[in-house]
Symmetry: C2
Subunit: 238 residues, 2 copies
DNA sequence: GTTGGCAGATTTGAATGCAAAATGCAGGTA
DNA sequence: TACCTGCATTTTGCATTCAAATCTGCCAAC
């Protein structure tokens, strides 16, 4: 019960920004805080490094990963690909009940839009996107999606929306719902790609990538391929 | 230098089937074999569990993950999505040199096809797919792709090809090259999806998923989402 | 003959210990 | 004053140790 939980709690700490991106991760303090020894903590750090949330610097400790604008762009692009795939699959596999649930979220979301309530709008929005992923009935996809979206969540679901863009986003969501209703995978896939591309542009324009004071070569690491790997630095928040 | 290397070697051991899927992973033996202590080995196991290559059974050790037909299908679907995305991006970003390299691999591949040389054919084939991924210039994508393809590599690049299917595959590759030449992302994306879908169907038909003697509930685990998580069993080889 | 249960051995999960590397700081030198 | 050098301290990475859980084999009871 220890290991899983440690990974989860650490992940929360990192995603919530309790340890700010780029911040040092003090092993001893965290051990005390979580009331565990260094062994399970270090195991968790390795796992999170594989997820791209932690940067392991050999012999020099670990740091919370920072996202550069490039990182953010890369992540959004991948997210586009994953959601497009999910949309395609979801149209083949979604149940009527699942569709109904999405429609409910959608209607609620539109209500929040009309009232200009951003936070609840985003909540519904996120439910919809996640429901589409789940409807694809592909655990591998779900897993990758969670891992990718976790890292852009704050950028994605916090960025303020200028009214014109917000209107477009809602329109796109109408189209998403429509494509789902028609079970038109190709269309849904296309809309989702567009939708995410817009979101990406908005987030990047909103400045989630401007504070790039490139740190000089932090080590690589960050298993699973090249995720964070290529050694970035910077970004203070997200 | 230890940790990274241990993960790498263990991954190789698992992917090469040196420890067969579903096989127990004997910590002590592996420690002796790799000349390390249990601590770094266990860290590596946790990381590989997060990648979906290892199943962690609380208090009952770890096992090499097995792929069910469903797993294989899920992985191929995700691979479709990733390659489609890569194709789209690659068309925007590929350099002439990269394209030339792909064309060279392509020509060589066709030669091998004409001579009926499957293994070298697959080698070129794989180079092409990887080159497209790399041309997308997206480290996150590259990382996920590596992680996903590693798990289906043996199925994908070992399955024998009935002549008619092989001919179709080569034709598809002609189309891939053509779309790349024209920098037509939409077309390339579409072809890659189709190409991968065919491959998936072929692999599944070739029987890489038939030996499913469902093991009774092995624990879950296997971080990153639901990858292996949902607790499958079975498959003896791959 | 089979089943249930108990004691010993094995294995796992986590804590602690120890050597090596890195960091910080004081003092000396140009 | 700025910079380099050497030492003490801290931190990291791995090995070892220890407690708890699981597995194995044996015996008794039905």
């Amino acid at each position: 019960m220890l290991h899983e939980e440690v990974v989860g709690r650490l992940r929360t700490i990192l995603l919530d920004g309790e340890i700010p991106p780029g911040g040092r991760i003090p092993e001893r303090e965290l051990c005390a805080k979580l009331a565990i020894s260094r062994t399970p903590l270090r195991e968790a750090l390795k796992v999170l490094a594989a997820e791209g949330l932690v940067l392991l610097l050999p012999n020099r400790g670990s740091r919370a990963a920072k996202l550069t604008g490039k990182d953010l762009q890369d992540l959004f692009e991948v997210c586009q690909g994953l959601e497009a795939l999910a949309g395609d699959l979801a149209c083949e596999r979604i149940t009527d009940a699942e569709f109904a649930a999405i429609r409910t979220f959608h209607d609620e979301m539109v209500d929040h839009y009309r009232r200009g309530e951003l936070a609840p709008y985003y909540r519904c929005n996120r439910h919809i996107h996640e429901a589409i992923i789940n409807a694809a009935r592909n655990p591998v996809l779900t897993g990758l999606y969670e891992s990718v979206t976790a890292r852009i969540r704050r950028a994605r679901y916090v960025t303020p929306m200028p009214p014109p863009n917000w209107a477009v986003a809602v329109q796109e969501h109408e189209a998403i719902l429509n494509a789902l209703l028609r079970r038109d995978g190709t269309a849904l896939s296309h809309i989702l790609r567009t939708h995410l591309r817009h979101k990406k542009e908005e987030v990047i324009r909103a400045g989630f990538a401007e504070i790039e004071q490139q740190r000089p070569m932090e080590g690589r690491h960050g298993l699973f391929g090249g995720s964070v790997q290529a050694g970035y630095g910077s970004r203070a928040d997200i």
